[in-house]
């Protein structure tokens, strides 16, 4: 189910961003560090704080990468992915 508050997770790993995820890794989105306008667009596409994001395939060279979020697959460039801060689901 969707969680909207972001602080009820288990033992939080240090904050990283979507860029740190390798293919198949999952994480919970913590916050979006972008202008309200851009954040809103990302949220409408499913990138809501508290949502589980799974990293998928990427273009050659690792950029952009496809992320599975809220039932869709959405490609983000590295520059954008860096601004989406995450909590690791579990330490790897």
């Amino acid at each position: 189910m969707l969680q909207l508050s972001s602080n009820n997770g288990v033992a939080d790993a240090p904050l990283g961003s979507l860029v740190d995820l390798q293919k198949g890794d999952a994480a919970v989105l913590e916050r979006i560090e972008m202008s309200p306008e851009d954040s809103r667009r990302l949220m409408e596409l499913g990138f809501l704080p508290g949502t589980r994001v799974i990293a998928g395939c990427c273009a050659p060279g690792g950029d952009p990468r496809v992320f599975q979020v809220d039932g869709s697959e959405i490609a983000l460039r590295r520059d954008t992915a860096r601004k989406l801060k995450i909590r690791r689901e579990r330490n790897m």
Binding site: M1, L2, L4, M34, E37, D38, R40, R41, L42, M43, E44, L45, G46, L48, P49, G50, G56, C57, C58, A59, P60, G61, D63, P64, V66, Q68, D70, G71, S72, E73, I74, A75, L76, R77, D79, T80, K83
Partner: protein, 628 residues
């Protein structure tokens, strides 16, 4: 059945007296990008708007008439996709304005068909909140029911309808399943929606929470991950295999366009030759015969024979678009785009510029950043459009030997065509770099691209596209190209001296060609090519018809086919120069007009025309001296 008590839009005795009992009602198709609005629109109205399997294909509102069983008609408005009612880009603004009755020329819709992708209902239901809050009668359409079922998802339409206080229809617009529910809604009473509870619209997390709650009360089970899409992505986005597949697709497409259509084109050329001779034999000698046979038949005919190339191109574009592969191609090519400072959203318009620059320039409306949008508009005409194909095919067949290359994977002719496509792309990318590092510098917008699931292109959709393109091609041949050819014929027959038309070199057309000859001589072009270049300002492929007509009227080359006649007039260097000139120059009135409209003034189109012209001149000059 004409009960419309709830709908104030259709006061009886209104508007036109000829209309059926209930007046024409406007109904808007609303939904997130790539949810299938246009597919449904085409099904309801029997029209053929362009659809493709990626977001952002519709950038303007389109209207069409849906006829109900009882003979009444409804005006259906297809709108660009929106995620919410907070518009950011120009295409979203169009949707917003139409829904609020603020778009001039578009009637405020009396009802809404909200099209949602049932395989992604959790997120798509978010849009239901602001739409239902408008208070306009709404039918909620859950599209792609077939895919939902095949991926083992489900939803209780009745329960969802109870939650939202509006009718819900589970349909498959592509196959037509369930479409009768839409017609029933259009024919019925259309009460205003009575949703149980709506969230605070400005708060996206609250909206998503609401959508999730409504979905779960309607027993929505999200479908399992699309297995085939994942599998195919593992191949198409593989670090090594992905780019190889990409290259093979590009080479394969170009190769087939050239090689598969060549025999058809040759047969058609022969057909025009034989029928031209027959026409000449049945018509009395004189001006009419000359106009029809040497002017129109040879001129327009020499363009028409390239219809197969253009259709093959659009067949491949159609397959790639409808299947969803183009979104992956966009991903693979994105690094190049990022390097030159273009944002990811520029890619889709640029891809469609391979068909024609005009819709491509309109598609830039999805780009929110003004500077990025102008940069994309300025480089779009460099992409090799379908109007260049006849010119390329003609010159390549006439001047480049058909020897195998790379162990038969290619021929020199295919390589040349491929090279021209690459050249256009490089010019676009280089120009983008130039613009983005100077006058059109801007901050990077976030790059977001939804990856659609792969789908089989339907024969119906591909067939309709080809039919449309064939009609467009033939219409151009029958209007612009025919007109230019007739004008050319007239100019080639004036001025009359002693009751006789002049030799073509001394005619008005010839004088015009000779006037610009000094300018184009360094490129390896003579006055005949010059006339062709002038006429190609109307539309690129017109040069083919013009040259066809000139050689047809000139007694020296009358007996030759177009290829052979060209070889007497151009050196190999000149031919390469001409190819490169066409790769770079902006010879298209429609493109100039659409750039003026979309940028709101003459500044950008003039700059663009000059820049591309200068580049074409320099490129052709180098080619002529280097190869010649």
């Amino acid at each position: 059945m004409s009960q419309c008590g709830d709908c104030h839009e259709c006061s009886p005795g209104g508007v036109a007296t000829l209309s059926p009992p209930a007046a024409l009602k406007a109904v808007a198709l609303v939904g997130p990008p790539n949810s299938g609005k246009t597919t449904l629109f085409n099904r309801l109205t029997g029209m053929r708007q362009k659809v493709a399997n990626f977001p952002g294909v519709t950038v303007e509102q389109h209207s069409g008439i849906a006829e109900l069983e009882d003979g009444r008609v409804v005006n259906i408005i297809d709108l660009p996709g929106i995620y919410s009612l907070a518009p950011r880009s120009e295409d979203e603004q169009v949707a917003y304005d139409v829904l609020h009755g603020r778009r001039s020329g578009a009637e405020k819709p009396g009802a809404i068909l909200l099209v949602l992708d049932s395989t992604n209902l959790g997120r798509h239901l978010m849009l239901a909140a602001p739409i239902l809050a408008l208070g306009v009668p709404t039918l909620i359409i859950l599209n792609m029911a077939d895919e939902l079922a095949s991926r083992k998802g489900k939803v209780d339409a009745k329960a969802l309808s109870d939650q939202l206080g509006a009718p819900v229809a589970l349909i498959n617009a592509r196959g037509g399943h369930g479409i009768h529910q839409v017609f029933d809604f259009l024919a019925g009473a259309m009460p205003a929606p009575q949703p149980k509870l709506l969230p605070i619209l400005q708060d996206v997390p609250k909206c998503r929470e609401w959508a999730g709650a409504v979905g779960s009360r309607a027993a929505y089970r999200a479908p399992i991950a699309p297995k085939w899409t994942r599998r195919l992505d593992r191949l198409f986005l593989h670090p090594v295999a992905g780019p190889i597949v990409f290259l093979l697709v590009v080479v394969g497409v170009i190769r087939t366009i050239f090689m598969a259509s060549a025999p058809i084109t040759e047969a058609a050329q022969r057909g025009f030759e034989i029928s031209g001779k027959w026409l000449a034999s049945v018509l009395p000698d004189g001006l009419l015969q000359s106009l029809l046979v040497e002017g129109i038949w040879r001129g327009v005919g020499s363009v028409l024979v390239f219809l197969p190339q253009v259709l093959f191109l659009f067949l491949f574009i159609g397959i790639l678009e409808d299947s969803g592969y183009l979104a992956r191609a966009a991903l693979i090519a994105d690094r190049t785009m990022a390097k030159v400072g273009l944002q990811g959203k520029s890619f889709i318009p640029l891809l469609s510029a391979y068909g024609c620059a005009v819709p491509a320039i309109m598609a830039t409306r999805t780009i929110e950043n003004k500077r990025d949008r102008i940069a994309t508009i300025l480089i779009a005409p460099f992409m090799t459009c379908s109007a260049r194909l006849p010119v390329y095919a003609l010159l390549i067949a006439a001047f480049i030997p058909n020897r195998p290359l790379l162990g038969g994977l290619l021929t020199e002719q295919v390589a040349a065509l491929l090279g021209l496509y690459v050249l256009g792309f490089l010019a676009a990318v280089g120009t983008a770099k130039l613009l983005k590092s100077s006058v059109l510098k801007s901050a990077q917008a976030p790059f977001l691209l939804e990856m659609p699931s792969y789908r089989w292109p339907t024969l119906q959709s591909l067939g309709l596209r080809l039919l449309d393109r064939a009609v467009v091609f033939l219409r151009r041949a029958g209007t612009v190209i025919l007109l230019v050819t007739v004008i050319l014929w007239v100019m080639a027959h004036l001025p009359y001296t002693d009751g006789k038309p002049p030799a073509i070199g001394d005619s008005v057309a010839g004088t015009l060609g000779r006037t610009i000859e000094p300018i184009i001589k360094p490129l390896g072009f003579n006055w005949k090519i010059g006339i062709g270049l002038i006429s190609s300002l109307a539309a690129r492929e017109t040069i083919v018809s013009t040259l066809g007509a000139i050689y047809g009227m000139d007694p020296e080359s009358q007996a030759f086919d177009l290829q052979r006649a060209l070889r007497t007039d151009l050196t190999v260097g000149g031919a390469f120069a001409l190819l490169i000139f066409f790769a770079f120059a902006m010879q298209c009135i429609s493109t100039i007009a659409v750039v003026r409209r979309e940028t709101g003034g003459w500044k950008w189109p003039i700059l663009q025309f000059t820049y591309m012209g200068v580049l074409a001149y320099i490129g052709a000059f180098i080619a002529n001296h280097w190869i010649g």
